[in-house]
C-alpha cells in the first residue's frame, strides 16, 4: 500500500456512487421488464438525486442531521478503507457504526414510523452482522489474512455456502424484498428515512449507495485469479450475478415480517457460514481428503 494506491482508492470512492446509481437504473429497468412494463430511463436514480438536491431545505431537528451526516461519512469511510486494503474486521466495525448512526438518526425524531423503522433497522443489524462477521472469518480461514487486498484464490470454490449466506445479507442490506422490512414503503412509508426531505434525503440515499458499493466490493472478493485482467472481469461478473439474483428474488417474493427475516438470516445464514467454515477447516487439517 503506497501513496499512489491511496489516491486511486480516493478516486474510485468518488466515482462509486455514480456506478451504483447506474446499477440501480439497470435494476429498475430489469424490474420493469420482469413486470412487463417499460420502466424509467437508465439515469433515473441520478435524476432523482439531482431533483432532491434542488428542493428547499426542510429539517425536523439538527440532531437528526448530525447523525445522518455521521452515517454517510462512516459509509464512505468504510468503502474507502476497503479499497485502501484495510482490515476486514475494522471495516466491519465501521459499517456497524454507520448502521448505528442511521438508527439513532431515525430515533432522533418523534415520528412513530421513523421510530418503528429504526427498531426494525436495529433488529436487522442484529440479524446480518453475525453472518457477515463469520463470512469474514471464512475468508480468513482460506486466505490466512483479514486484509481486504485482493487475493489470488478463487474463494467462491472454497466458500460457496458462505456466498449463499451473503446473498441473504445482501437482500437485507440493499432493502430488497422479502427483507425490506426497515424501509417497507407500503407499510411504514420508508421507516428511518421518512422525515428527511430534499437535500438530506439525497444525502441519506448516497449513504445507502456507498453501503451497496461496499457490499458489492465484499462480494467481488469471492473471485480471485493471478492474472489481473481475468480477475477484474471475474469480479465484475460475480458482482453482476449477485445483483441479478437480488433483483430476481426481489421481484418474485413478498415482504416478510421482521421476525421472520431475523429467524431466516440467523438460522440458515449462520448455519451456512458455520458449516462452510468447518468444511474448510476439515479440508485444511486433512480430516476430509481433498484432491
Amino acid at each position: 500500500m503506497d501513496w499512489l494506491w491511496l489516491v486511486i482508492a480516493t478516486v474510485i470512492t468518488a466515482i462509486a456512487p455514480f456506478a451504483v446509481a447506474y446499477l440501480q437504473g439497470v435494476d429498475r429497468r430489469i424490474t420493469a421488464r420482469m413486470q412487463n412494463r417499460v420502466g424509467p430511463p437508465l439515469l433515473q436514480p441520478i435524476y432523482d438525486i439531482l431533483k432532491l438536491l434542488s428542493k428547499t431545505k426542510v429539517a425536523v431537528n439538527k440532531g437528526q442531521l448530525v447523525l445522518a451526516t455521521m452515517y454517510v461519512t462512516m459509509s464512505i469511510l468504510a468503502f474507502w478503507m476497503f479499497l485502501a486494503g484495510a482490515d476486514l474486521l475494522i471495516i466491519f466495525f465501521i459499517l456497524s457504526a454507520a448502521a448505528a448512526f442511521y438508527t439513532l438518526a431515525g430515533y432522533a425524531v418523534l415520528s412513530p414510523y421513523s421510530q418503528l423503522g429504526s427498531t426494525r433497522e436495529l433488529i436487522q443489524v442484529i440479524a446480518y452482522e453475525p453472518v457477515l462477521l463469520l463470512a469474514f472469518f471464512g475468508i480468513w480461514l482460506v486466505t490466512g489474512t483479514f486484509a481486504s487486498e485482493a487475493t489470488d484464490k478463487m474463494l467462491i470454490l472454497w466458500l460457496p455456502l458462505t456466498f449463499a449466506a451473503l446473498m441473504l445479507v445482501l437482500l437485507v442490506k440493499l432493502q430488497k424484498s422479502p427483507y425490506d422490512v426497515a424501509e417497507a414503503h407500503t407499510e411504514i412509508v420508508g421507516g428511518p428515512e421518512i422525515e428527511y426531505s430534499g437535500k438530506f434525503l439525497a444525502m441519506v440515499k448516497v449513504g445507502h449507495w456507498y453501503e451497496a458499493a461496499l457490499m458489492f466490493a465484499i462480494i467481488s472478493l469471492f473471485f480471485g485469479h493471478p492474472n489481473i485482467y481475468v480477475a477484474f472481469a471475474g469480479k465484475l461478473l460475480i458482482v453482476l450475478l449477485a445483483w441479478f439474483i437480488v433483483i430476481l428474488v426481489d421481484n418474485s417474493t413478498a415482504r416478510l415480517r421482521f421476525g421472520q427475516m431475523a429467524r431466516v438470516v440467523l438460522t440458515y445464514g449462520l448455519a451456512l457460514t458455520v458449516v462452510n467454515a468447518l468444511l474448510v477447516w476439515a479440508v485444511q487439517q486433512e480430516v476430509i481428503p481433498w484432491p
Binding site: 420493469a32 432523482d48 439531482l50 428542493k55
Partner: protein, 192 residues
C-alpha cells in the same frame, strides 16, 4: 429565487424527470382513487416518466388530490401541503376535486380543492381516466418547464388572482392519442 430549482437547467430537468407523487383523498368516493392506482399498474406504467407514488409529503413533489374537501379533511390537507418542500404542484383529479360537483354547497364540504389550495392542473371526469391523470401530470410538468423558460406562468402557491389560470387536462383527447380515434365515450354514444 428565480423560479423552481433556482433556475438551474440541470436541476429543473431532473425535477421534470422525477415527479414523486403524494396521493391524498380529501373525501372522494374512491372512484378516482382506483383510477389513480390503475395508472400506477404495469398497463399504464407511470414509472417510465420517473413518477413514483411515495405516500409521504416530505418526499413528494406533486400532490394528487381526489374528492371534494370535507370540513374534516381540510386541516389535514393543509398540514400535508405545508410539509411538502418547494417547488410543489397540485393536481385536482375528478369532477369533485375540480369544482365540488354534486357536493357543491353541501353542509359538510368546502367545495373543490381550489377553495383551500391553489390548483395547478384540473383533471375532470367522473371518474377521471388513467390516461387523463397521466396527461394531467404531464401538463403540470409542462407548466414547470414554461416557468423555467421565463414564460408567464407562476407556480400555483405563488399565484395571485390576476395571473395565468391553471391548465385543464382533456382526458378524452389524451385517451384517443393512446387508444386511437374510435375509443372514448363519444364513440360508444355513436354506436348506441
Amino acid at each position: 429565487m428565480g423560479g423552481p430549482a433556482g433556475g438551474d437547467p440541470l436541476a429543473l430537468k431532473s425535477l421534470i424527470k422525477s415527479p414523486w407523487i403524494l396521493h391524498f383523498d380529501t373525501g372522494s368516493c374512491n372512484g378516482c382513487d382506483i383510477e389513480i392506482f390503475a395508472s400506477l399498474t404495469p398497463k399504464y406504467d407511470v414509472e417510465r416518466f420517473g413518477i413514483l407514488n411515495r405516500g409521504n409529503p416530505k418526499h413528494a413533489d406533486v400532490m394528487v388530490l381526489t374528492g371534494p374537501v370535507t370540513k374534516k379533511t381540510k386541516s389535514r390537507l393543509l398540514a400535508l401541503y405545508e410539509q411538502m418542500p418547494e417547488p410543489k404542484l397540485i393536481i385536482a383529479v375528478g369532477d369533485c376535486a375540480c369544482s365540488g360537483s354534486p357536493f357543491t354547497n353541501a353542509y359538510n364540504t368546502e367545495g373543490g380543492i381550489d377553495t383551500c389550495l391553489p390548483v395547478d392542473v384540473y383533471v375532470p371526469g367522473c371518474a377521471a381516466r388513467p390516461e387523463a391523470i397521466i396527461d394531467g401530470v404531464v401538463k403540470a410538468l409542462e407548466k414547470l418547464d414554461k416557468l423555467a423558460k421565463g414564460e408567464p406562468v407562476q407556480p400555483a402557491h405563488m399565484r395571485g388572482a390576476n395571473d395565468v389560470p391553471a391548465e385543464v387536462s382533456d382526458g378524452n383527447a389524451a385517451m384517443k392519442a393512446v387508444l386511437g380515434p374510435t375509443a372514448g365515450p363519444a364513440a360508444v354514444k355513436k354506436e348506441g
